[in-house]
């Protein structure tokens, strides 16, 4: 359990640091795989079949469909390696660590509630916050989608950590939303690239004030 958690944190920190788009998509896929594995493991531990389904969905959608779709978009657009971070790696990492502290600080109070694994919840919140931060620090539209995926992963982890997942029906709904969201965003990136001849969102600054 803890191993998974640390592995997840490692992947997210790696994502903060790397610049290659394919690599980032890959890391997101790995993250989803890890999550799926964790879900399956917890399901096996508790004999919860619903978690198998959740794990399968996670892997299928977040580790396979969406990464493939994003790679397709990258290929269509033809951008692989661009410098999209607005901050230096050092600063980025420092802030990411700071957000980890915030997450631990915030979840510390909730630990007393029986059954909540404070450590895992903290990791989940870390994932969510760093995912959001990833979006703050990156300019390229695609990495922003990846940041969103990291956040979703954090949410899934939170659900796992606290209550062994949400009701399956809700989970299905969420996965559907994630899938559609990724598709919509991917298509938008495509259109943005077509219109602006770039997927650098810092160029999207016509609307101000």
């Amino acid at each position: 359990m803890e191993m998974f958690t640390y592995a997840l944190l490692t992947t997210v920190l790696a994502m903060v640091a790397v610049q290659n788009l394919y690599l980032m998509v890959g890391l997101a896929a790995v993250q989803a795989l890890l999550l799926g594995a964790e879900a399956a493991w917890i399901g096996w531990q508790h004999g919860d079949t619903a978690l198998y389904w959740a794990a399968a969905l996670t892997v299928a959608i977040k580790a396979v469909v969406i990464p493939l779709f994003l790679r397709y978009i990258i290929r269509r657009i033809g951008v692989i390696h661009i410098l999209d971070s607005t901050l230096t790696v050092k600063v980025t990492l420092l802030i990411a660590i700071g957000l980890t502290f915030v997450a631990h600080y915030a979840t510390g109070a909730l630990a007393e509630v029986g059954g909540i694994e404070s450590e895992a919840l903290a990791a989940a919140l870390t994932l969510v916050l760093i995912g959001a931060f990833l979006m703050v620090s990156r300019r390229v539209a695609l990495t922003q989608v990846l940041g969103l995926l990291v956040m979703e992963n954090g949410l899934f982890l939170a659900a796992l950590a606290t209550t062994r997942g949400l009701p399956l029906l809700v989970d299905v709904g969420i996965f559907f939303d994630v899938l559609v969201g990724a598709l919509v965003m991917g298509l938008m990136i495509y259109r943005i690239n077509a219109t602006f001849e770039s997927i650098d969102t810092s160029k999207l600054r016509r609307l101000q004030g």
């Binding site: 959001a132 606290t162 919509v184 938008m188 259109r191």
Partner: protein, 484 residues
């Protein structure tokens, strides 16, 4: 401009575009309205309705939202008919796009309806996220640079926000499970309300805080509101009307569901203060932004931020006065804001711009639209005889009643600034002489209905509230006060 992405093409049978779609949409929306009214009557006379294996659940708050969605939806559909026909005639929109528009437009309404007729908070979340995705397509409808930019910001910011909300939902679920609820019903609102006193207050508080940030992003609360002026201004005007008029309410509705549980679990202090803070910040920021706007639709969008802030302030202050004012205010805002967006759409068509500097002498060029622009502006700033006067007065009164006169003072100040700001722009747009080359004259036909009906309703509520409406609002306010 760009290649049409294949996924965006919703299969709609190839009917002749134009009139037929408009009529079909109108009939459909009318039907929805009738059904909503029937459902609302059932709810308000006999209590919450549950059906379809317990998935569909409508209580008084939901019923009110339902009626608002249906009413504004019908008006927007009617307006969209004439709006798009005009654009099609001018060649801005192809027949195919016209069809697409209506497909997405009604899908958008369906997702909104879905959000208010389910009980499971998880489902509410799913529906709210779905509204974002669907409406993002509509925001980007024109395929211009600006609209793409707006749609992108909209979808990203709201998705991030709503991810925080999801975390809140998960925490709520956790606390429900730990308080002994079954997995299947631990996200059911009624079940959670029933055992709310047993929920862990710390967890629920955190859940509410996250839910408020998340749904608050969608509801346009500052400082998470930044996407709103972009999206609301770039969307086609009928869509803007729906976005401003009802979607914001729905986001707030979702946050309120969590708030009610939290209030039961940990007392009104925390939730009230948080709502009050966000509300006042939104109010203040929006009021100042209104003053320095240059674009008509952005102006209206900021006004929406202001009004959402007001509703939050009212709920945050609480008390019977505050809550009934909040409910009334949501209703009134839903009635009046669409009218303003419709008027803005008409003006945009006539002046070929939403730049307020270019829109001059609207009363001369378009007497009806110009007049309604003034009337709407006066209404939205809380001037009698419209009901917004009453609701805004109630909100200010709530502060005094709650012993927080300072909050009311801030509200009064912000309202005065917003009033000055809105009228500063509107008087120049509506009055004076129309610029050279602008076509003069405007006919009065059924196309005026979507502008006239809601405003007339707002005036009616302002001078005489039908007993049925009064009773319904009272029930909703009572529910917001903590009753089921």
């Amino acid at each position: 401009m760009s290649t049409e992405a294949p996924v965006l093409e919703v299969p709609i049978p190839a009917v002749p575009p134009g009139q037929a779609v408009t009529w079909a949409g109108g009939v459909w929306s009318g039907l929805v309205l009738v059904l909503s009214l029937l459902a609302a009557r059932a709810v308000f006379t006999a209590g919450p309705v549950r059906s379809l294996f317990g998935i569909v659940y409508v209580d008084s708050l939901g019923a009110l939202m339902l009626v608002l969605i249906a009413l504004v939806g019908l008006m927007a559909t009617l307006y969209a008919g004439s709006y798009l026909r005009h654009e099609q005639k001018r060649g801005q929109v192809t027949a195919l796009q016209h069809l697409h528009f209506f497909g997405w437009f009604h899908l958008f309404q369906i997702t909104m309806i879905a959000a208010v007729v389910v009980e499971n908070i998880g489902f509410i979340w799913v529906a709210v996220e779905a509204t974002t995705l669907v409406s993002a397509v509509l925001v980007g409808f024109y395929n211009r640079r600006e609209s793409l930019e707006a749609a992108w910001k909209y979808v990203i910011l709201c998705s991030v926000g709503i991810a925080f909300a999801m975390l809140g939902v998960i925490l709520l679920y956790t606390s429900g499970v730990h308080a002994g609820l079954d997995h299947r019903e631990a996200l059911n609102w009624t079940s959670l309300m029933a055992i709310a006193p047993n929920l862990n207050p710390a967890v629920v508080r955190m859940a509410f805080a996250l839910a408020l940030v998340g749904f608050g992003t969608k509801a346009g609360l500052a400082p998470m509101h930044t996407w709103l002026p972009d999206a609301h201004s770039q969307a086609p005007s009928p869509v803007s009307a729906l976005l401003s008029g009802v979607l914001l309410n729905i986001a707030l509705y979702a946050a309120l569901r969590v708030e009610l549980i939290t209030r039961q679990a940990s007392g009104a202090g925390f939730t009230g203060n948080l709502l009050l803070t966000f509300g006042l910040v939104s109010l203040g920021i929006a009021a100042l932004f209104i003053l320095v706007q240059r674009d008509l639709k952005r102006l209206l969008a900021y006004s929406s931020v202001e009004h959402m802030g007001l509703v939050c302030v009212a709920i945050g202050l609480g008390g019977p006065v505050g809550l009934s004012a909040a409910v009334l205010h949501m209703v009134c805002h839903s009635l009046v804001k669409p009218v303003l967006f419709f008027a803005a759409g008409n003006l945009g068509h006539r002046y070929h711009s939403y730049h307020m500097e270019r829109i001059r002498g609207a009363c001369r060029a378009m007497p009806l639209t110009g007049g309604l622009l003034i009337a709407g502006a006066l209404a939205i700033t809380g001037m009698p005889p419209t009901s917004l006067f009453l609701s805004e007065f109630g909100i200010v009164a709530a502060g005094f009643a709650a012993g927080r006169a300072w909050a009311s003072v801030v509200v009064l100040l912000a309202l005065a600034v917003a009033f000055a700001g809105l009228l500063l722009h509107v008087k120049e747009m509506a009055l004076g002489e129309a610029p050279h080359g602008i076509q003069i004259g405007e006919g009065l036909d059924w196309r005026a209905l979507p502008l006239l009906v809601p405003l007339a309703l707002a005036v009616l509520l302002g001078i005489w509230m039908p007993p049925a409406v009064a009773d319904a609002l009272r029930q909703v306010a009572a529910m917001l006060g903590g009753g089921l």
